[in-house]
């Protein structure tokens, strides 16, 4: 019986990556909370996870700054958030309270995924050592 580590870890490894990506997006929302014209963004989680699982992105490497950025990456997961308040006057749509809660929730979910992974690894360790 061949053991596939990839399959044993299930969806959680991909979820972890998407969570860390989402942390990055929300962090840039918070950092730009005072930037005029900045629009808050977020990931469509289901989309991003499906993309991460398929892992279908091809990029041509650039060897010069003047080269075009050629990627066949159909990433539709990056979306703008719908602001809950009317425009404050400077075109910024970041609601810091919302973003902070989102960041906290995302980091909790990240840690939950981490726990699942830990459990899987522990189970594999137990199976390898025969429960000793």
């Amino acid at each position: 019986m061949a053991v596939s580590l990839d399959k044993a870890l299930g969806i959680h490894q991909h979820a972890l990556l998407v969570r860390s990506e989402r942390a990055e997006v929300i962090a840039s929302n918070i950092a730009n909370a005072d930037t005029p014209g900045y629009k808050a963004k977020d990931l469509d989680f289901a989309d991003a996870l499906a993309n991460a699982q398929k892992n279908q992105s091809y990029k041509m490497s650039k060897t010069n700054d003047k080269h075009f950025d050629l990627s066949f990456d159909i990433d539709t997961s990056n979306k703008y958030r719908n602001p809950m308040q009317p425009d404050t006057g400077d075109g910024n749509s970041v609601d810091v309270q919302v973003e902070r809660n989102m960041f906290m929730q995302n980091s909790m979910e990240y840690q939950a995924s981490l726990q699942f992974l830990n459990g899987k690894i522990k189970a594999m360790k137990k199976a390898l050592s025969g429960g000793q």
């Binding site: 942390a23 962090a27 950092a31 730009n32 909370a33 005072d34 900045y38 990240y110 981490l114």
Partner: protein, 137 residues
């Protein structure tokens, strides 16, 4: 690992907010600096933020860039005070166009934004250090 980019992003936010805090400090400190001509008078200055576009980062994450610092166009406070040692030949002294109340509100906003960025970096650090411990416990 995109969690490392969180440090870059929130770090740029922190430095932008500290520029803002610096200009606020300079505005408040100079709120009462008088001069005897319009050109020499201190004017309130404010930073201009913009979202940063670096090719090193993915197109999703954006740090903050301080485009520059602009001086306020608001009219100066001109005061008729012939006894003032800095008064010009017509007896006027020129005071900066700093609105101290506005600057105080700016200061509070900047320091709160700075704190928020620190907390974000802290949370990212915790997430990373937990990840490093994966499979050990």
């Amino acid at each position: 690992m995109s969690l490392y980019n969180v440090f870059d992003v929130s770090g740029s936010g922190m430095s932008a907010q500290s520029v803002r805090l610096n200009t606020t400090a300079s505005n408040i400190a100079n709120a009462n600096s008088v001069s005897s001509s319009i050109d020499e008078t201190y004017r309130a200055r404010h930073p201009v933020f913009s979202a940063e576009m670096t090719k090193a980062m993915s197109d999703q994450a954006r740090g903050v860039n301080v485009l520059g610092i602009v001086e306020s166009d608001a009219p100066l406070n001109i005061e008729h005070n012939p006894n003032h040692p800095m008064a010009d030949k017509d007896g006027y002294v020129y005071k900066p166009n700093v609105n101290v109340v506005e600057e105080m509100a700016n200061m509070i906003s900047a320091s709160r934004s700075y704190e928020t960025n620190v907390q974000v970096a802290d949370a990212a650090k915790q997430m990373l250090s937990k990840t490093l411990l994966m499979g050990q416990r």
